[in-house]
């Protein structure tokens, strides 16, 4: 009788362990990219999207591009995407919202965007290679690049206020377009994000 009871207890324990292990299996669910999900409170895709949306709206609401077109007889402004510096203490991949802005400019037909930095070097290398290896009719000509009228620059800064298990994180993203000839800023976009993060009292 005693032995049967012990066997039953062992079996129950095994069943509990098995069920617990099954419950801990990794679960993956596809969700919409538009859904805001914050886990750690650090910079994430939601912040990047909010910044991109705000900056795009502000840029289109400003009349800098229309002014350029009127001054240049309808010619579109040409923008070179420069550097957006991350001056916060977090790792922030800035290219996500910069790419969103580039996409908006190009798809709207309002602005011509030229590549810069490593991308431009790659294109130049390929063009030089074509001078040696491509047929005369198909090779891209040298010294025919489109010069930019403006450069897009920006920076992200953050301020953190922490007390015990609570903290407030503030991010400020500033993006501006600078006239390459006169150094004057023709447009400045800004977006601010403030988060209140409270860690749980007990962590398992």
């Amino acid at each position: 009788m005693k032995r049967t009871a012990r066997a039953l207890r062992t079996l129950t324990l095994c069943a509990v362990v098995f069920l617990a292990a099954a419950g801990c299996a990794r679960q993956v669910t596809r969700i919409a990219p538009e859904q805001a999900i914050d886990l750690s409170g650090r910079w994430n895709d939601v912040d990047s999207r909010l910044v991109a949306d705000a900056i795009i709206q502000q840029s289109f609401a400003s009349d800098w591009a229309a002014n350029h077109m009127r001054a240049e007889g309808g010619a579109l402004p040409v923008v070179l995407v420069g550097t957006v510096r991350n001056r916060s203490l977090e790792h922030i991949p800035v290219n996500t919202f910069v790419s969103d802005l580039e996409r908006a400019y190009v798809n709207s037909g309002q602005v011509r965007v030229v590549v810069a930095g490593a991308e431009r070097d790659e294109v130049r290398d390929e063009r030089l290679d074509q001078q040696q290896n491509a047929s005369a009719g198909s090779r891209a000509q040298l010294a025919m690049e489109q010069g930019a009228s403006y450069i897009l620059q920006g920076e992200i800064q953050s301020i953190e206020d922490r007390e015990g298990r609570r903290r407030v994180v503030f991010y400020q993203v500033d993006v501006s377009l600078v006239d390459l000839q006169s150094n004057s800023r023709v447009w400045v976009g800004q977006h601010k994000i403030k988060k209140y993060v409270a860690d749980p009292r007990v962590r398992i």
């Binding site: 289109f60 009127r70 001054a71 240049e72 007889g73 309002q110 004057s184």
Partner: protein
């Protein structure tokens, strides 16, 4: 009083204080991000296309009108995309490939001035960025470029030529160099004189300025070379002046003889 200080009230007060500030969330965790960016992009595309079409039509109409009625020299300037003395307002728009939106017109009576409508982006012709265009009785009497050394005025066809442009730029650099030399900035002054010398070579006034600046900088060997070059240039100028004077004199003598013959016959 007794009711306020009851244990439940004190506890509630403590709990409320411990919770911190009242939060006003703008986006809840799990909520969908509200966005209308794609609609904004589509609207910007429509607006841009409409504005671009309007401006392109305005530029095309102005250019067609200008080319239909311009004199050959003005038509050449329009084709090159350069301003020229004697152009009409429509010719100016055609030469700068702009529409009325790029300019603001001021003035009254026979005189008017075209200035850029958007100070951040001045219209340009094939030579440079334009500061303003002066018109007398509907025709361009002068125009001014905004250049690194300041404003450069073009009031005659000679000013518009490459030589005229170089002369004006060199003069502006010499003026700037003189001001720097007077302020004791000899290195910067020498830099301006050297640049003027590149733009307008073999100019004795520039060489003398370079020589005296080098002299003041206690660089005697270079100064001597420049002084010698200055003397050589003066001699060449003297020869040239003598040659021109002799040629003018010979021309005058020939004309006088011709007149004597004519008068004798009469």
């Amino acid at each position: 009083m007794k009711r306020i200080l009851s244990p439940v009230g004190v506890l509630a007060l403590l709990v409320t204080t411990g919770c911190g500030p009242r939060l006003v969330p703008v986006l809840q965790n799990g909520q969908m991000i509200p966005t209308n960016t794609d609609a904004a992009i589509a609207q910007a595309e429509v607006d841009t296309r409409a504005e671009q079409t309007r401006l392109a039509e305005a530029v095309a109409n102005t250019t067609t009108d200008a080319l239909a009625s311009c004199a050959p020299a003005i038509c050449d300037a329009i084709a090159r995309g350069e301003l020229a003395i004697g152009m009409s307002e429509a010719d100016v728009l055609a030469a700068t490939r702009t529409s009325q939106d790029a300019w603001s017109v001021r003035g009254s009576g026979g005189a008017s001035v075209l200035t850029p409508a958007h100070s951040a982006r001045a219209p340009r012709d094939g030579v440079g960025s334009i500061a303003f265009v002066s018109l007398q009785n509907g025709r361009v009497s002068g125009y001014t470029y905004r250049e690194p050394n300041g404003l450069r005025m073009v009031a005659s066809s000679a000013d518009a030529s490459p030589q005229g442009r170089a002369r004006a730029q060199a003069d502006a650099l010499l003026t700037e160099g003189d001001a720097l030399a007077a302020a004791g900035q000899l290195d910067l002054a020498l830099d301006r004189y050297d640049r003027a010398d590149v733009i307008r070579p073999n100019d004795s006034a520039t060489t003398l300025r370079i020589a005296s600046t080098l002299d003041k900088q206690l660089r005697p060997i270079e100064a001597i070379l420049r002084y010698q070059l200055f003397i050589h240039q003066l001699e060449l100028e003297k020869i040239e002046a003598r040659g021109e004077a002799a040629a003018r004199m010979a021309e005058a003598i020939a004309r006088a003889r011709e007149r004597v013959v004519i008068l004798d016959r009469q």
